[in-house]
Amino acid sequence: MQDVVLALLAKEPSHGYELRARLQEALGPMGDALNAGQVYVTLTRLEKAGLVTAEHVGQAHRPDRKVYALTADGRRRVDAWLADLTWGKPSEFHLKLVAAAAARLADPVDLVEAQRRELLRRLADVQRAALIEPDGSAAALLIEGITLRLEADLRWLDACARHWDRKG
């Protein structure tokens, strides 16, 4: 969540509610559960960590609003996050692509390709183990599960590549 919010701020300084709206747009029905509180808690933590700055902007007849902007440290963290090939949830990678495209931080197709190579390498390691593991062992069952999951992830990355290739 922190990384996603930072990456969205790389496009332009924003209010909390704008960030939430952009997250919800990218997530569609999956974003329904995202409440405003989560975004503000994240922004406060990021401010304490020195990754974003908050500026009060006065409004007529209303309380001030805060506009958040990335600091140099924040920007470095965004770059590190984009380069990180740790594989977590599809929604996180999806938001990485959306944020990278919106802020023109990186070509989503390149990010997908780097991630695809990484998962293929892992699958290669798993397959090496699978081919020497005797059938029917407990470890073979685990290997099968990991293989199926990596295969599904790689298929989804192909879909990501097609989607962003058309857009780019």
Partner: protein, 241 residues
Amino acid sequence: MAILRACGLRKEYGRGTGLVRAVDHVDLDVEAGETVAIVGPSGCGKSTLLHLLGGLERPTGGELRLADRRIDRMSETELARLRRQAIGFVFQAFQLVDELTALENVELPALLAGAGPRVARRRAVELLERVGLADRAAHLPAALSGGQRQRVAVARALVGRPYVVLADEPTGNLDSAATTEVLRLFAALRADGQTLLLVTHESRVAATADRVITMRDGALVGQTNLAGAGGGLGAFAGLEG
């Protein structure tokens, strides 16, 4: 040394507005002993490329060398001999002769290549053993499982001691367990130094190669090196959670 070498290889079908560049200026070096996988969306030209490399089809342009011999401008007769002796093919649908036993299927290409019956028989027996099917020698294909049929087909491909085995979706008709059987066989062949080029849409199969090449619209557009890949099994940990 590259055993198989393609340079600017092209294959076009049709003409004018109907022109299809099925293979579009492909440069490819396959080293002796290497296993290379080619992946890419349906219709991107994988099978056409494999057919060109194996001399089943003639290129529109470009150069092709197998073990340092130009094969793109060989005569039909020379090419036919080359296909029997220097190249092994494995297909998705096995393409065994239904009326022949496993053993006869394997010895057939040796006989066609002019080997004497006893030599051909000895070679076929040896290869069925190699693929773990010595006890199925007298079975007709119909009496074999998919994985076993494909192993017979691999044995047949090896009869001429080919420089390279070309496999087009070799696990495309197989379930997971039979796929594992065939992949184990490929791993054993590779340990013996057999050069192998396979086309597949299954990432699990591609992941067993030394190199995975991505093809799109007739061209090779990317490559992932897997020889000595990754962080070993520790990489599993990163998958959890």
